[in-house]
């Protein structure tokens, strides 16, 4: 096994990793705020809003992500009448699937964070004259994110690995190029290289979240 061979197979694989990273960044950037929105909705005073959020979370967490991705990429265009308007670029459709799916998980994580906050925090904020909204933004949310941080870290690492599901909807990413190389060269080195690339990505994430946890230790 030569260095040249490694460079040769790594180039397309790193390109694939670029797709993986793009998907990851898009999915995180959109699903975290969307998830928080669902958390707020699930606690709404309006039964209809809360019911919608609960149902949404139930469906997204209760069905396989692969099924959802296939549905967005290949199912939606089959809908009568409106289907033809729902043909998306497959990468876009996959992003949509990931965002909608992970939003449900983040919603649950944030809900857990909210539940962990003592009632006394709301009361102190109220007695100090903060409005409900001010209390949520200045007192509750920062604590909720702090509590949720380890679970968010965990979920993010899962997301990196879940990007491999792009393979199922034929969007070329890291795994796709890995298999191309394996099949072409009849050699397992690409698997190892792919593993190392995934590990580097998850290591970077782990370090990033360690840093955040330290920064927001509040001690």
């Amino acid at each position: 096994m030569s260095v040249e061979y490694l460079v040769k197979i790594s180039k397309p694989m790193l390109e694939g990793a670029g797709t993986t990273i793009s998907l990851f960044l898009i999915a995180i950037a959109l699903s975290v705020p969307l998830g928080f929105l669902f958390t707020l909705m699930s606690r709404s005073r309006f039964k209809l809003v809360a019911g919608f959020a609960h149902t949404y979370i139930y469906i997204m967490r209760g069905t396989p992500l692969t099924l959802q991705l296939l549905f967005f990429c290949f199912g939606l265009p089959m809908l009568p009448v409106i289907g033809e308007f729902l043909v998306m670029d497959r990468f876009v459709a996959a992003c949509l699937g990931f965002v909608l799916n992970y939003a449900a998980y983040f919603a649950e994580i944030f809900r857990g964070g909210l539940l962990s906050i003592d009632k006394g925090q709301h009361e102190a904020a109220q007695v100090l004259g903060l409005s409900r909204w001010q209390a949520t933004v200045k007192v509750i949310m920062p604590q909720m994110f702090r509590v949720a941080l380890p679970s968010v870290a965990n979920e993010s690492i899962t997301l990196v690995k879940d990007t491999a599901l792009l393979y199922a909807v034929a969007v070329p990413e890291l795994l796709h190029y890995t298999l191309t190389a394996v099949n072409r060269d009849f050699n397992l080195t690409p698997f190892v290289v792919a593993g190392v690339i995934y590990l580097m990505m998850t290591l970077a994430l782990t370090l990033f979240f360690k840093f955040l946890e330290k920064k927001f230790k509040y001690e």
């Binding site: 925090q121 009361e123 102190a124 109220q126 007695v127 903060l130 509040y218």
Partner: protein, 249 residues
């Protein structure tokens, strides 16, 4: 001149009548100690004054404005204005753990009152000095002892210049050796003519600092009077029974 008037306060949680017919008045600059057995409704009474509990009947009048009149609440806006004249100190401090000591003091004045950062800073430094914690302004609550936390909580409540301070068992969560430092701060506030209602199990404090003592039992104010009247010459059997069970003072 009474600054708080409570008349025929009624409150129930489901079928449990927690406050049955509570009436009392507090004069400006008075220190009231509220004592009584667990579950007698002391916290519920105190919390209804700052609208943390909604009552089912009766009236609460604070600084000549009705928070509730005959069971009917004022408008949201009025409620906000009325309760803004009161500060509250909780048994478990309820400091904001994600903010430093200084951040805890400055959050409300900066979000609610829109004062300049300089004015707020001057006041927070002054109050931290007053409670003896000038050197802790950058510490997070997690790094403080219980006594220090409670003194921060008192300073935080004072930031908004309340006319009335309410304390719900401010020393009950503290190790015995830390009780004194908190009581000292409260005593100083009393000397400075702050109007205070203090729910407490510290009979020594009640006797020494309070102008009047309310004894509550089973959702009623059973007896009220000067510390001498209540502790040395209680008129009601229930008061005597309670005082015999607590430590002699």
């Amino acid at each position: 001149m009474s600054i708080i008037q409570v008349a025929n306060l009624k409150k129930s949680f489901g079928s449990l009548d927690v406050l049955k017919n509570v009436s009392f008045e507090v004069d400006k600059s008075e220190v009231i100690a509220v004592i009584g057995p667990s579950g007698s409704g002391k916290s519920t009474m105190l919390r209804s004054l700052v609208n943390l509990e909604q009552i089912n009947g009766g009236s609460i009048r604070i600084q000549d404005q009705y928070l509730v009149k005959d069971g009917g609440y004022a408008s949201q806006q009025q409620i906000k204005a009325i309760t803004s004249g009161m500060g509250m100190v909780f048994q478990h401090f309820n400091l904001f753990p994600h903010l430093t000591v200084q951040g805890n003091l400055e959050l409300a004045p900066r979000t609610v009152q829109k004062l300049t950062a300089g004015e707020v800073r001057r006041r927070s430094q002054e109050l931290l000095g007053k409670v003896g914690l000038a050197d802790k302004s950058d510490a997070y609550p997690a790094r403080l002892s219980g006594g220090q936390k409670q003194r921060v909580a008192i300073a935080r409540a004072l930031m908004l210049n309340p006319a009335i301070l309410l304390f719900d068992e401010p020393t009950s969560a503290l190790d015995p050796e830390l009780v004194g430092e908190v009581l000292r701060v409260m005593k100083q506030l009393a000397e400075e003519q702050m109007t205070m209602i203090v729910v407490t199990h510290e009979m020594g404090f009640a006797r020494e600092v309070a102008d009047r003592v309310l004894f509550m039992d089973n959702g009623e104010v059973v007896e009220a009077g000067t510390p001498e009247q209540i502790f040395d010459n209680p008129q009601q059997e229930r008061t005597r029974t309670f005082l015999n069970r607590v430590v002699r003072v």
